[in-house]
């Protein structure tokens, strides 16, 4: 009985977090903040749902499988978030106008300027043996 209530609580809590993550994707103002919602809240919702499943089955093998699933979700979700966020930034997906500081932009402009000047110096050398 108490276990049932606990299971129900975990499943509903997990679903609530998944819902919050979905709401966050709709309501947060820029791409990067949406990434916060999509990684943190949804991964945590998943953990709660799986905890409920573990309690429901009450089986050691199931528990082991669930621990592995949770482990892999927590190892891979940040990597996906990092890659998506990084790709978005390099494609100049705009930040929200309330963004306070951006210490990444100067560094990217610097490296772009370096590439530009590298191309310019290559173009300025017409007697290159390659062509």
């Amino acid at each position: 009985m108490i276990t049932d209530i606990l299971i129900a609580f975990l499943l509903l809590g997990g679903s609530a977090f998944a819902l919050v993550a979905a709401l966050g994707i709709v309501r947060l103002p820029d791409f990067y903040m949406r990434m916060h919602a999509a990684t943190k809240a949804s991964a945590f919702g998943l953990v709660l749902i799986f905890a409920g499943a573990a309690l429901y089955f009450g089986d050691l093998l199931v528990l082991l499988e669930i621990l592995l699933i949770v482990f892999f979700v927590y190892v891979t979700a940040p990597i996906a978030a990092h890659l998506i966020g990084r790709a978005a930034y390099h494609m100049n997906v705009p930040l929200w106008e309330e963004t306070q500081v951006d210490e990444l932009r100067p560094r990217i402009e610097e490296s772009e300027a370096e590439i530009e000047s590298g191309n310019a110096s290559a173009a300025a050398a017409p007697d290159d043996p390659a062509d």
Binding site: L28, A37, Y74, G85, V101, E103, L104
Partner: protein, 115 residues
């Protein structure tokens, strides 16, 4: 022999403490992001800050970026080519310096201790 054994126990103990810290941060970050989403007015003032890393191994770097993404308000966004700077998107940056110090001192120290 005994010192070796105690160092194994010490590592295990630190690993356990780190896991608890990780779980605490994960729970806190989930509730924080849920709070940010559900409050009608958005109080978040995001920003991207640079954190300097001094010579972390590959494994330490993996754990640190993972920890940063899963902890309250932060998302690791980019790593400089020479691996000396980590760029972090943060949901609340009232004070970039304090935040930078917190990550450099607290997170990097914890990760360096164990991995």
């Amino acid at each position: 022999m005994s010192t070796q054994r105690s160092s194994v126990f010490l590592r295990l103990w630190r690993g356990l403490l780190f896991s608890l810290f990780y779980v605490k941060e994960v729970v806190a970050s989930s509730f924080l992001v849920a709070y940010d989403i559900l409050t009608p007015r958005l109080y978040s003032r995001p920003g991207i800050i640079a954190v300097s890393l001094c010579s972390l191994t590959d494994r330490q770097l993996l754990v640190l970026t993972n920890l940063v993404t899963m902890t309250p308000g932060t998302l690791s966004l980019d790593l400089s080519a020479d691996r000396s700077m980590l760029y972090i998107h943060h949901m609340h940056v009232p004070d970039p310096e304090a935040l930078r110090r917190q990550i450099e001192e607290d997170y990097v120290r914890r990760v360096r201790e164990i991995f």
